[in-house]
Symmetry: C2
Subunit: 119 residues, 2 copies
């Protein structure tokens, strides 16, 4: 199943969010990536939807780890959205919380996130 289409959302280990707040941030990233890919790469988007729209949530240590992942994804023409929180609740406005990537074919997106542990 290595070549299955998937979306990967990357979270930060050093940001202490409640499960509900984390889920909302992941949802922001997922919606942004889905809409972008639907618009810009409908082939990838449709294949992903037809396979069940797989989503994986993984983690990195800290915010600095987001940037090389985002850059590599963009080089591979994978949708990449770094989400900033509006700051209404648990964390300051503008805090970068999660990085959404994809959807993309597994063999391509795994070049970016294949080594990251599942959250």
């Amino acid at each position: 199943m290595d070549f299955e289409y998937k979306m990967v959302i990357v979270t930060r280990g050093n940001l202490d969010l409640s499960p509900g707040k984390l889920a909302a941030q992941v949802a922001h990233a997922a919606v942004a990536c889905a809409l972008s890919t639907k618009k810009n790469n409908s082939k990838w988007f449709n294949k992903w939807q037809n396979e069940g729209a797989k989503k994986i949530v993984v983690k990195v240590e800290c915010i600095e780890d987001f940037f090389p992942l985002k850059e590599k994804a963009e080089q591979l023409k994978i949708a990449a959205y770094l989400i900033e929180d509006a700051g209404h609740t648990e964390i300051p406005a503008g805090t970068k919380t999660v990085l959404g990537l994809g959807p993309a074919p597994g063999n391509i997106i795994d070049q970016v996130t294949g080594d990251l542990p599942i959250l």
Copy 2:
């Protein structure tokens, strides 16, 4: 701010998911609801996007609580998606995990979920 557009994702208190698994389920619901509303009610979708695409994660006690919420949302022409897990990991296939609702104007969606606590 009662009339702000928002999406509400309802989780179940009695389903023990890891934070990453919960976030993926919430993301499934958010993407399904966003795409459906974009297609079927572009006015609501565009207003929600332009206001920052607010998403709230709330909770109910158990699965039976999902059904009246879904029915009421549908009566109000709000997108409503009950997510079933594919069962690859923590829980049996077909388990209903979360209910996505909206986006919709706050004064309408609050008729469905306004009394539910934030997760």
